[in-house]
């Protein structure tokens, strides 16, 4: 089980959290100006790296806040955790 550090509550068991995917996805400011490929890229395409990954987690059974985590997808090492 992962121990994930919530920036507000400290380290808690993985079962208290829900995963929110890649961090830093920006909704396009003007969706009408996008073509289908660009809109699909925003909706579906993710980096999915082997190694360090910036991702969102929600402390669902704790303070219920979203925050940003840097996690290595190979070793599962969490090197950073901070408020959005």
């Amino acid at each position: 089980m992962l121990l994930i550090k919530c920036p507000h509550c400290g380290e808690r068991a993985e079962t208290e959290f829900s995963y929110g995917g890649e961090a830093g996805i920006q909704r396009p400011a003007n969706p009408d100006a996008l073509n289908d490929a660009e809109w699909a890229d925003y909706l579906f395409n993710r980096k999915n790296p082997r190694g360090m990954h910036a991702e969102l987690w929600n402390h669902a059974q704790g303070c219920r806040r979203w925050f940003r985590v840097e996690r290595d997808t190979v070793s599962y090492l969490i090197s950073d955790s901070r408020e959005l």
Binding site: H8, C9, R12, A13, T15, E16, Q61, C63, R65, E83
Partner: protein, 175 residues
Amino acid sequence: MSEALITAKVLHDCGHINLRGRRNDAAFVAAVESVCATSLPQALTTAASGDLRIYWLGPDEWSLVTTAEKTAALLAALNGATAGMHVAVNDLSAAFVTLALGGSKVRELLAKGCTIDLHPAAFASGACAHTGLAKAGVLLALQHVEFRLIVRRSFADYLLQWLHRSGAEYGIEFV
């Protein structure tokens, strides 16, 4: 079992007010603290003042628990003191069931279903934590030697059954 090592009691006389506002808004903090006659608790702690307990839920969220009788007046006072501010004050009394748990084995019982560290050095009087207990979301707090367990009403029956079964080896007594 001759002696109950754990006692559990459903506290029926409770009112729950959910309060949200900005911690760095000095006017908001001052307004709430003057109504409550205590300071808003910091992360993972409880503040107490008379019948009132204030539990930290998150960086901009608290749960205020008082007697059922005093809830309406507290709600009105909070609404009055924070009028015009960026806040949310809601009476959630009907949503929660509050339990008081005591006894020498209560930490052992809770540890069966809870992943946070309940050692006295890690979870001392004044501590509060929203966490999972036997997969149900609960607010767990400790004041002196008494644990308070606040759970959504729809989970209360399940959690009481879990306490009943998991506490059997300690002779848990529902009073």
